[in-house]
Amino acid sequence: MADTNQTERLWDEMHDWLLAYIRNHVDNTDDAEDIYQDVFTRVHRNLDTLKDDQSITAWMFRIARNAITDYHRGRATAARAMIRLAEGAPENGEDIDESDPAAEPEADFTHCLKAILKQLPPQYRQALELTELGGVTQTDAAEQLGLSVSGMKARVQRGRSMLKDALLDCCNVEFDRRGGVVDYQRRAGRDCGRSGCG
């Protein structure tokens, strides 16, 4: 069992530089904070696996680098799913290429994402539909909507964050090491839209 005091001490010692490192590799400050929390959780969970001759600081740094990689993979997976959605991906698993083992969960995942996207507040849904689905740059989208570029970026980031939170609240999503959707299940008691996941 990991020593809580030990973990907290490490947390204090590494907070500033580790967060600065993560922020340098992630555009969104809120996401950087989330990754930092994730790193802390992973460290706490795996502290017992640390080898005696291993530098704990270097080990935590490696965990942070992996968490950053996982974050980018997860975002790319969600973006791929949204593009499939925009291109008319099959709903309810219809017309899925059964020779592709990844196709079915990813197509269903897209269906799940579509239902959740509909539940977002209109301004955030519109921001994501324009930029993520429509391929419009954030600068052009800002002009279309009469917003500042920074305002548009904030809206897209907030929309992504809300979409992610809603998705994870609705479903347990399992990713492979490349960020592909391996499996998902609707959480018990969750209404994920008219035809949500699971």
Binding site: W17, T57, A58, F61, R62, N66, R75, A79, R80
Partner: protein, 264 residues
């Protein structure tokens, strides 16, 4: 693409011959550099034009047949980069004939630690000794150095334990300015004429496409594998072209620096 595989927009890439001294800095570059022991092809592009957060140096000590190459990526910009670049130059100059690269990282770490987190820097230092036919590799939180043995088509990351490692979780040490007491490791590996090394900043592997999918180590090694036998400038250009294709833009996501080297 020209015979020298120069980058579009920079067709006037020049060859520089470094017999002794240190070449490099923080400015954009697309250049080939030869020393007594190594041939190198360098590409460096800052995302905000001209002077970015990446630093590169190649130094040679003719008398002792030592060539050293250093690449660094500073978290901050502006003065922080200039400071680290200056310290790095001074340290490289002070140790120009000493193959031990740990001293350079340790000295830099001491100085950077006093500057604060704006000076947090990842760095890789490679020294090639033409006397012992060895390379001395040291890293400070920097992306893994890639190695290609002469005649082989595959590149692999070299961990600080000397083994070829999977891209995930290689030991690359801690960045500079994190902990003043950090002891940096060094790996010494035998090397022969025709062997190649590839050193880069994270602007290469973290270049995103429009989905946010990163270029990654796998795509990088795939491009390197496909061009393993190509002349160094062409190898470099193939990577840069693949990056441009992946990002769909002019490498505006981050500073990008890469150096392909071959033992002569």
């Amino acid at each position: 693409m020209s015979k020298e595989c120069s980058q579009p927009g920079n067709p006037a890439a020049k060859r520089a011959l470094v017999c002794s001294g240190i070449w490099g800095g923080i400015r954009d570059a697309d250049q080939n550099v030869n020393t007594d022991g190594l041939a190198a092809s360098v590409f460096s592009s800052s995302c905000d034009g001209g002077k970015g957060g990446d630093i590169y140096y190649i130094g040679a000590c003719k008398g002792c047949k030592l060539t050293r190459m250093a690449v660094a990526d500073v978290v901050g910009h502006g003065q922080a980069v200039s400071d680290v670049s200056e310290y790095m130059y001074d340290s490289l100059k002070a140790h120009i004939c000493d193959p031990d690269s740990r001293k350079i990282l340790s000295e830099l770490n001491q100085v950077a630690s006093k500057q604060g987190l704006n000076a947090m820097t990842t760095a890789a230092v490679v020294a090639y000794s033409g006397v012992s036919d060895e390379v001395f590799l040291s890293q400070a939180g920097h992306p893994p150095i890639l190695l290609n043995r002469k005649g082989r088509s595959s590149w692999s990351a070299v961990g600080l334990d000397g083994s070829s490692v999977e891209p995930r979780e290689p030991n690359v040490g801690l960045p500079l300015a994190v902990a003043p007491e950090t002891v940096y490791q060094q790996q010494v590996i035998p090397i022969t004429s025709g062997d190649r090394l590839f050193v880069y900043t994270d602007g290469v592997t973290e270049a995103p496409n429009r989905l946010g999918e990163l270029f990654g180590t796998r795509r990088l090694t795939a491009v390197l594998d496909a061009n393993a036998g190509a002349p160094l400038p062409c190898l470099k250009s193939a990577v840069v072209e693949a990056l441009r294709e992946h990002t769909g833009n002019g490498l505006t996501h981050d500073d990008v620096t890469l150096i392909a080297m071959e033992v002569r």
